[in-house]
Subunit: 418 residues, 2 copies
């Protein structure tokens, strides 16, 4: 750790500027009485982008945009041919979301450039802010669209043809964005980064529970989805003895109970959810003939995720109670392990700034997931109240926003010094 | 057991006549290709009643009808002032039912009168066939309407005002019945019986499984219904640790699992069914915020039913997993214990006729349930294929129909001799 320079960057984070800008950005797309509706490529998103670009213009930073609308703001380095250190997130929101999810990471990134400037730090590498298009996937599917296209994981033409409920395509919406935004330069997709950093609210309760302001994200969880169908036999609730029943509900609840026990890890890292559970014919005095239920299983460790997920079918089949059981895996997304070296720099930066930190796995997905396929990547989490997000009640304190931004500034400085 | 006379009655049961009449009755309201739609007080029901009355007329038996349309056919006894032995059932059907449910008991009862006649047996008491109105409750609710009104458990005016989906009332439909049927005599409600016997298909699988042709029904099960509501908290499936969850589904499946264990009696007498189970918001990646499920619990022994049912609330509350749990009992119908003395006469009759028998509790309800409130009552079950009823696939063999009718004849003779 180049302690003195990184510390100076962290100390130059300006709390007033950061929170003022947060308030400005939060006013665009605000819904009454609280909350945020700033879906991707809407008027509100365009206005928010214009605001962010105005901050860049004040400092004379270069700005660029790529074909999917991802925006980049560049503070030059001593070696302009070197790959940049990039930090950012997104400023689109859920239709009834809050002003912290994504926006905090963009605000923190902008503040890092200002802090470096104010501290008079000349970095070896350029430092860039990235504003990714359509992370939320509310108006246009899929989620993390901009970063997926950037990373070559989603074909541009496919993304451009996605339409909203009014039939407007991403391509149409982007044309309007390009027309209205004063961004001079184009930027090729998959431009190489030296490293990527993303600051974000946790969207879960772990940091708040632990009373720790900084989460060092070591991984973004992997996810496996299953649909289990149990086919038994309907019958009269009054006349059919247990020994003659093939009760799909008794089988299904037993499966869920056994699976729930299997997933009960001492460290409370496994995420196991049966969210959908449907019974036919669903009548009080008829033995259920069939049940369909879903399993959402997540873990940051690919081996654990594989080991647990691979037991689902066996446990269901072993508790069939005479029913036919079919288990179909509908999704299997591997965990993203973030760069260990960068995580170590983040830990050192937090220690340097004097902030407690803990390692954490991200339960939700982020743009960093795709960017991590192209360069070493790290994420910094700050607590959010009650662990809630994707709701108008989403809240993060100014103190935590400043803390996260200071750690991001120190980490960026350290990585950019060369 | 007055062996010789009872045996003669049983031996006089005429298989050809019984099965011919079954075929005649089954043709009225038959649906294509199989099954029966002969709902209460429809044209088909009236035609079927007319057929039964025509059999009575051939023998010159007296016929009577009461204000709810229950019909009685009387073979006189030596002492016409003595209370009759009555046997019967119903001839209305489910909209997609079979020709055995109810109809078998009426056919068997009619055959008992013929057999007594053919054997030249003069009974001390009169013997009557009862044909109860609207047992099924498909067209007009509630079920077992005629016997409930007969037994004073349902006010006549209330029954008369029940309407079908076309707005036709029971009163209107009965007026038409009275006009069209050639029945001379009125009969008061709650006319006293010395005893009541009902033969019926089991509508469950126990006799078929055991390979035993005669069930001696000792009780009609009691029934308790509960609705359990579990209120937890929705949350993000990816970010919320188990320790922070109040997952209504995990709580509910644990409750059902524990209850299912509690209800698992070695004798397989308890009937425990969770037929309805509904989850909100029922989305794969959202922790369920609430679950509502129903419990249908039945047992022939009032004490066991009370003991088991009274544990439902405690078991649900003990497995709340932090959720709010409300348990509401929506029905509590006591078991009907049939007369032990009559059951003993039925057992002796079966033995006398040379038929294997076993004691059995009725899972479904029957007219005997209400009639048993007014006089000693017994029921005789015969097997039905696969244990199914209330479906067009309902089937009972001629052999079993004859067997049940012979036992009914012997029992009736024994009781009517005085």
């Amino acid at each position: 750790m180049n302690g003195s320079v990184a510390s100076r960057a962290a100390q130059s984070v300006n709390e007033t500027r950061l929170l003022d800008r947060h308030a400005q950005l939060a006013s665009i797309g605000a819904i009454d009485p609280v909350g945020m509706n700033r879906q991707a490529l809407t008027d509100a998103d365009i206005e928010a982008r214009r605001l962010v670009l105005s901050w860049a213009a004040e400092r004379g930073y270069g700005t660029a945009i790529d074909d999917i609308g991802n925006m980049f703001i560049r503070r030059p380095g001593r070696d302009e041919s070197a790959m940049p250190i990039v930090t950012g997130s997104h400023i689109d929101s859920q239709p009834a979301g809050g002003p912290f999810d994504g926006a905090f990471g963009v605000l923190a990134a902008c503040e890092v450039l200002e802090a470096l400037e104010d501290a008079g730090i000349v970095t070896e590498r350029p430092v860039e802010v990235a504003v990714w298009t359509n992370e939320e996937g509310s108006r246009f599917q899929p989620t993390t669209m901009g970063s997926a296209v950037f990373a070559g994981q989603l074909p541009l033409v496919e993304a451009l043809s996605a339409t909203d409920t009014h039939g407007i395509s991403v391509g149409d919406a982007l044309e309007r964005l390009f027309r209205e935004l004063p961004i001079p330069d184009g930027r090729e997709l998959r431009a190489p980064f030296a490293a990527y950093l993303e600051a974000h609210i946790e969207q879960g309760p772990l940091l708040e529970s632990a009373g720790i302001p900084i989460g060092v994200v070591t991984a973004i969880q992997g996810l496996r989805w299953f649909t289990v169908r149990v086919d038994g036999e309907t019958g009269h609730a009054g006349t059919t003895p247990r020994s003659r029943r093939r009760d799909a509900l008794v089988a299904a609840v037993t499966m869920v109970g056994r699976l729930s026990q299997l997933m009960d890890d001492p460290g409370d890292v496994v995420r196991f959810t049966v969210g959908r559970f449907e019974v036919e014919p669903n009548s009080p005095n008829t033995i259920p003939g069939s049940v369909l239920f879903t399993i959402d299983l997540r873990h940051p460790d690919a081996n654990v995720l594989a080991a647990l997920g691979d037991q689902v079918d066996g446990i269901c089949q072993a508790n069939a109670f005479g029913c036919r059981v079919s288990v179909v895996e509908t999704m299997n997304a591997a965990p993203t392990v973030l760069d260990a070296g960068i995580s170590q720099v983040i830990r050192a930066a937090a220690t340097d700034v004097g902030l407690e930190h803990m390692d954490i796995a991200s339960g939700a997905t982020h743009d960093a997931k795709y960017v991590a396929l192209t360069c070493p990547a790290g994420m910094i989490f700050i607590p959010c109240r009650g662990g809630v997000s994707h709701t108008v009640l989403e809240f993060a304190s100014g103190e935590h926003m400043v803390a996260g931004t200071r750690v991001l500034a120190a980490t960026t400085a350290e990585l950019a010094l060369g």
